[in-house]
């Protein structure tokens, strides 16, 4: 059976027996989403890479203790989130360099400069709005909107109560709407 056809649980069982190759398969399979999660939480690619590297090191160390009670991604995202929250506490900064994010997401240089400029401004506006959310609201939105988790799955990943997650999601989306379109902040 090729590695691609193995489930995450089967791969983890192999890693627990010392098969480093299977850890590489897990990394290939899940590093993209993990990196995106860390990047949207921290706003920095270098930090995101360090976080994801550390997450997989911890996966390797804890492989023998892994129990397939929940999905592997639930466990992995929990590790990534905890590392991101630790990193945010460590650096104690309120935001990130918006100018860098704008530059990273520039469109095709052959596009109309005015269009590219407008697009970059919109990107920065959305990043700023996300940055204004508190840590937990931001985490809830990133998990819901980008990782595609339901509010129940978010409770499993974060360990927060179902009612807390519901409240965080609703407030986060409302706050984002208010920041992105101030004229319509009365509609809620």
């Amino acid at each position: 059976m090729t590695d691609d056809k193995l489930t995450d649980v089967e791969l983890m069982q192999a890693v627990a027996l010392g098969d480093m190759g299977k850890l590489g398969v897990l990394a290939q399979r899940h590093q993209g989403q993990s990196l995106a999660l860390a990047y949207r939480t921290l706003g920095n690619w270098d930090q995101a890479e360090d976080i994801v590297q550390e997450a997989f090191i911890r996966v390797h160390k804890a492989a023998k203790k892994y129990r397939p009670d929940a999905k592997f991604t639930t466990w992995l995202y929990r590790i990534v989130i905890n590392l991101c929250l630790d990193e945010k506490r460590r650096i104690q900064r309120a935001g990130f360099n918006i100018a860098d994010i704008g530059a990273q997401q520039s469109g095709n240089p052959l596009d109309d400069p005015a269009v590219v400029q407008e697009k970059n401004e919109q990107i920065q506006k959305v990043w700023r709005a996300l940055d204004r959310l508190n840590k937990r609201q931001r985490m809830a939105v990133v998990l819901h909107r980008f990782q595609g988790l339901s509010h129940q799955e978010i409770t499993e990943v974060t360990g927060w109560s179902a009612s807390a997650v519901e409240s965080l999601l609703v407030r986060a989306y409302r706050n984002l709407r208010r920041d992105l379109d101030p004229k319509k902040n009365d509609s809620f």
Partner: protein, 147 residues
Amino acid sequence: MEHPNDITMLELLGGHIPESDQQPLRDHIENCPACRIRCKEFSQTWADLDALKADASQRDLTSRINLAIAGPSKPNWYLDSKPLLRIAASVLVATVLGYFTGKFSVQHSKEYLQTSAAQVLYLDTLLPSSPTGWADPIIETEPKPEH
């Protein structure tokens, strides 16, 4: 049907509502102005968040992860060098060790040196100015008879 709450609307947007429940919800939202406005606001925010692109497709951490777990291999100069060099190094180490061991041995202790010096002086007093450098035998002469 009751008005869906905010979290239900968000779950509908995220595709987490069972298929059998989706159509009744959509029908209600379509026909209820208040719910339609709420749903539109959430949908707009959902669409705006599309701007937060995070393309990680060009990033591959597999090698980094494997290296971090395996740890870098430290070169061992002793095992990697040629046999003759190893022998020479071993002799040098043994010599240096021997020197320092001897320096701090009992025979070099202060007390031993003092005792040795004292012994030499003592012997000198026993053998004063002997022409041969050796002790002259002490011959007992017979006592002279008393008159």
